[in-house]
């Protein structure tokens, strides 16, 4: 594709710099969805046209096509740029997922252009499974429709956290701010039942380009970013799970007797040489001796790189096995509860056997029970549907029984190990996509329940007040801001300032401080590694109770071990857990030594003191890193408030608008 104008200049003047810059760009995959006439194809065509990303010969062909097929009376019809196949050109609608590629100075983008047709839900689920962000298009004249709800539900089910509500055709409603705000409000209400962490609404007119790439002159009342600017800046670095190592073995490379390599794509987490790993199915352990990416040897590699690893010991491993760290294992079970999106024209049959492909493992599976169907328009459960099976494009919850135990994670925690497809054993059609909610048996054998099994006789009581109602009372979506860092790094100071600032704006939050918990709830615990773990487990459970009750929590614990923070994240829920690393280095903390603890630790008076006689493992992928020794407190606060804003934490405007 041709270059955006600013990039052109750099490519002309200094190709080496251009290449170096381009190499560093990251990748955002997004999809566009909306009903048939909401203008998806027009929007993408407009995006390319305004970024000057359409070649001259393509543009000539488009202008020619606009005369023949266009819906714009012969003038340039941006939609024709994306509508590829003949049949749909004749019908004037998109019927399949089309992928488009472009890059700006900030990012490289892959667009999945998804259909609005009811019967093509499967294509949208397909597109969504590859994306970080979704643009939901609505026609300003029609507002939120059944299709809007259906699409939002599907992208939420597929774990997309970043959503842009693009209210299109604003030109046809006289650029009315009121209409835009009403649609925005209606959608926010609806979306509060979904799992989005970051929702942004933008009024646009794709046909004319308003607020797509160029700021609109017609809507001065809108002060937010243009669509392109938002796409270039949205923060997706925390979307990838780098905490829980899962390595599904894809292929064994054995060219000679000396070399036995396990090839595969790291599904999540980070793999390092020297790591102890466990084969989940056999519980056999070994250590990682070598990691290869192609023919290059590396010391570590992260998801989603494709690697080949060699282990210290010859243990029996084959395709379909999953390797993980022994202290952080996935579930391993035969029975799961899952949401199914049905693709096949022949409906699901309870009791029937399908092939399931999960990771690199293919195994027969029985559809044991269909619990309910979901009415995707109202999001209501249909407990006893008139038709006993899921029909094409229907979604429901099912209990499935694999014929052999399978290593998996809940999808919310780890999509690559929480997703599967069902294949019809007779026709070989892809019958359904599956999203694992949880293990169906009481003992999921997960790392967590192995450490602290709960009594099987206890069930959770649910509240009569919906979570979104509770958080609407506090004004904040209930996240847990988990501060981690050395003693004296400034965690408590910033946490307290943050709590006060939120209160000044009129938002309720709760502060959990390490020292305070140790005076009461945890006063039976010391500082040995297992006691630290238990301390944090209790803290996480408390944070979770607060979050469940709609209250945002700020925690301030040293929490030195990666594994403990992973467990806290699991307890609180990965979507609610925001990790903030206070990165003040040891020598500065020690210099300050506010509580005189470092001096005592150096003198040997305090055992297991983090940084001195006990390690601190910094987070690999925190949502935010705060060098508190370099930033004034005001800057730290500003960055935290920005993080909250980018996650859609503010549910109503503050009496005093946060000045960020």
């Amino acid at each position: 594709m041709p270059l955006a104008e600013s990039a052109r200049q750099l490519a002309i003047s200094d190709i080496q710099s251009y290449l170096a810059e381009h190499e560093q760009k990251d990748l955002l995959r997004f999809l566009t969805c909306g009903s048939v006439d909401d203008g998806k194809s027009t929007l993408i065509g407009r995006l390319f046209y305004d970024c000057k990303l359409i070649y001259e010969d393509q543009l000539t062909a488009l202008l020619r096509d606009s005369q023949i097929h266009g819906t714009t009376g012969g003038s340039f019809d941006p939609a024709l740029f994306t509508d590829g196949l003949k049949a749909e050109r004749e019908q004037g609608i998109t019927i399949d997922v089309a992928y488009r590629y472009f890059s700006t100075n900030r990012r490289k983008f892959i667009i999945a252009d998804c259909p609005g047709h009811e019967q093509y839900t499967r294509n949208m689920a397909t597109g969504a499974s590859h994306c970080n962000l979704a643009i939901i298009l609505v026609d300003a004249r029609n507002g939120i429709t059944t299709q809007t709800r259906r699409h939002s539900f599907i992208i939420s089910l597929l774990g997309i956290r970043h959503v842009v509500l693009a209210v299109n055709k604003m030109d046809l409603v006289q650029w009315s701010a009121e209409i835009f705000h009403n649609i925005h409000r209606e959608y926010t209400d609806f979306a509060s039942r979904l799992q989005f962490t970051d929702l942004h609404a933008i009024p646009i007119a794709a046909l004319h380009g308003d607020n797509v790439v160029q700021r609109s002159q017609n809507m001065p009342w809108y002060e937010g970013p243009t669509l392109l600017s938002h796409l270039e800046n949205v923060n997706i670095s925390a979307d990838r799970n780098l905490v829980d190592l899962r390595f599904p073995v894809q292929y064994v490379i054995r060219p000679n007797l000396e070399f036995r390599g396990y090839a595969g794509t790291i599904a999540s987490g980070i793999l390092r040489t020297g790591d102890e790993v466990m084969v989940v199915s056999s519980a056999r352990r070994s250590r990682v001796r070598r990691i290869l990416i192609g023919n290059k040897e590396v010391s570590h590699a992260q998801a989603p790189l494709a690697v080949t690893i060699c282990l210290e010991d010859e243990i029996d491993i084959s395709r379909g096995d999953v390797l993980a760290h022994p202290n952080n294992l996935p579930c391993y079970d035969t029975d799961v509860e899952a949401m199914l999106i049905w693709f096949d024209s022949s409906p699901s049959k309870t009791g029937a056997v399908y092939w399931a492909k999960i990771g690199t493992f293919t195994v027969p599976v029985t559809l044991t029970k269909l619990r309910y169907k979901t009415d995707v328009n109202s999001l209501r459960k249909i407990e006893n549907p008139p038709n006993p099976g899921l029909e094409m494009n229907e979604i429901g919850r099912a209990h499935l029984t694999f014929h052999r135990p399978v290593a998996f994670d809940p999808y919310r925690k780890n999509p690559p190990l929480g997703s599967f497809i069902l294949i019809d054993r007779l026709t070989n059609n892809t019958a359904a996509a599956g999203i694992i909610l949880d293990s169906a048996t009481a003992d999921s054998r997960s790392a967590l329940s192995r450490i602290h099994p709960a009594s099987r006789n206890i069930q959770r009581e649910s509240s009569l007040v919906l979570p979104n109602v509770k958080s609407s009372l506090t004004g904040l979506r209930p996240f847990t801001l988990w501060f981690t860092g050395l003693s004296g790094s400034g965690k408590s100071t910033i946490a307290k300032l943050l709590e006060r600032r939120l209160a000044q704006f009129g938002y309720l939050s709760a502060l959990l401080d390490g020292d305070n918990l140790r005076h009461g709830l945890c006063r039976d615990l010391g500082f040995t590694p297992p006691e630290r773990s238990e301390n944090l487990r209790r803290a996480a459970e408390v944070a979770r109770l607060f979050n469940d009750n709609g209250i945002l929590v700020i925690t301030s614990f040293i929490s030195p071990y990666q594994a403990d923070r992973a467990i806290a994240r699991e307890i609180i829920g990965p979507d609610r857990f925001l990790e903030i690393y206070i990165s003040t280095p040891l020598h500065i903390c020690e210099q300050r030594d506010v509580k005189g603890l470092y001096a005592r630790a150096r003198a040997g008076e305090i055992p297991f003191f983090t940084g001195i006689s006990d390690p601190y493992e910094p987070p690999t992928n925190p949502h935010l890193t705060i060098p508190a020794h370099e930033w004034p407190p005001e800057e730290s606060l500003r960055r935290i408030l920005l993080l909250l804003r980018s996650h859609g934490a503010f549910l109503r405007e503050a009496p005093q608008e946060p000045n960020i």
């Binding site: 990039a7 780098l242 590396v298 599967f420």
Partner: protein
């Protein structure tokens, strides 16, 4: 040698390479008899390079297949044979016997029929002959409109036909590789790469490519605005036509009488990238066959062309 990789930032090239390696391994693990369709062009040369990485230190566990139209550039045959010897590749060459018998060529039979017989039909014959059940191709979705909708794993029936309305949904990186006897799969590991990605990767990995991609003085004639290289004495010259030396290079390679050259001074990969970045026309413009009819690529694909 240990290469420290302290950053957790991954560039898009790293992500694309990882995805392609994953696809190669998935096919080899799940199919009986795969093959890599090697067209000698830059995309399939990149494909070959990634395949080597996917199975290192083992050898590529499948053969390569070149569908030879007999009208490739001379330089392509030289490059192919050199690469085969250097890498000890299991390279199989297939020419449609009918094409030899009837002396099919682009001049007497027209570009459409020529391509149909020497490429599309020949490919089907070869796949049937060797009983391949999966064939890797270097197609990219950014090349052309109908390819934008192609799956990575594209199911073909026993007649090698592609049905755009009956393609399997592809979610996450879970590919349904199950096929019935006679059916086959075309697999496109480079689906998500753009032309720029390919060039950046060739640069980064230092991958040798056919010299025709670099600008040099070459004898050409101009026909309907397209520069055709006089690659051997089989090109019939029109009465007033005289080959002239011009500094040209090729953006795509195929049958030489059907492949237009562009005037260029780009002699290095960096210069090619720079020229490509600044160009205002798309890659396939140099290919004569795509102009035959609107959506012509789609028609060819339904028929079994790559």
């Amino acid at each position: 040698m240990l290469i420290p990789n302290l950053e957790y930032h991954l560039s898009h090239l790293q992500l694309l390479e990882a995805e392609s390696i994953h696809i190669f391994r998935e096919v080899v693990a799940e199919f009986r008899n795969p093959v890599l369709l090697y067209s000698i062009g830059k995309d399939s040369t990149v494909l070959l390079h990634i395949a080597q990485k996917a199975f290192y230190p083992g050898k590529i566990p499948f053969p390569l297949l070149h569908i030879d139209s007999r009208w490739e550039f001379r330089e392509m045959y030289e490059f192919r044979d050199r690469l085969r010897d250097q890498l000890s590749l299991d390279l199989r060459v297939w020419i449609n016997p009918q094409a030899i018998e009837l002396n099919i060529n682009p001049f007497d039979h027209g570009s459409e029929k020529h391509t149909q017989i020497t490429r599309t039909e020949a490919l089907k014959q070869a796949l049937d002959h060797f009983q391949f059940d999966a064939a890797f191709g270097g197609g990219r979705r950014d090349e052309e409109k109908s390819r934008a909708k192609e799956r990575i794993f594209s199911l073909r029936n026993r007649f090698h036909q592609w049905d755009p309305k009956n393609q399997r949904p592809e979610l996450w990186n879970l590919y349904n590789t199950r096929i019935n006897p006679g059916e086959s799969m075309r697999v496109f590991p480079l689906s998500n790469w753009t032309e720029l990605d390919i060039w950046l990767y060739i640069l980064r990995e230092n991958i040798p490519i056919v010299p025709l991609y670099f600008a040099a003085e070459r004898p050409v004639v101009e026909r309907n605005g397209t520069l055709i290289m006089v690659n051997d004495d089989r090109l019939p010259l029109l009465p007033n036509e005289k080959p002239q030396l011009r500094k040209v290079r090729f953006r795509t390679l195929g049958c030489y009488p059907l492949t237009g050259a562009i005037e260029s001074n780009a002699e290095t990969i960096e210069q090619i990238i720079q020229e490509m970045l600044l160009t205002r026309t798309s890659e396939r413009q140099g290919r004569v066959i795509d102009h035959d009819a609107q959506a012509s690529m789609e028609d060819k694909k339904r028929d079994g062309y790559f």
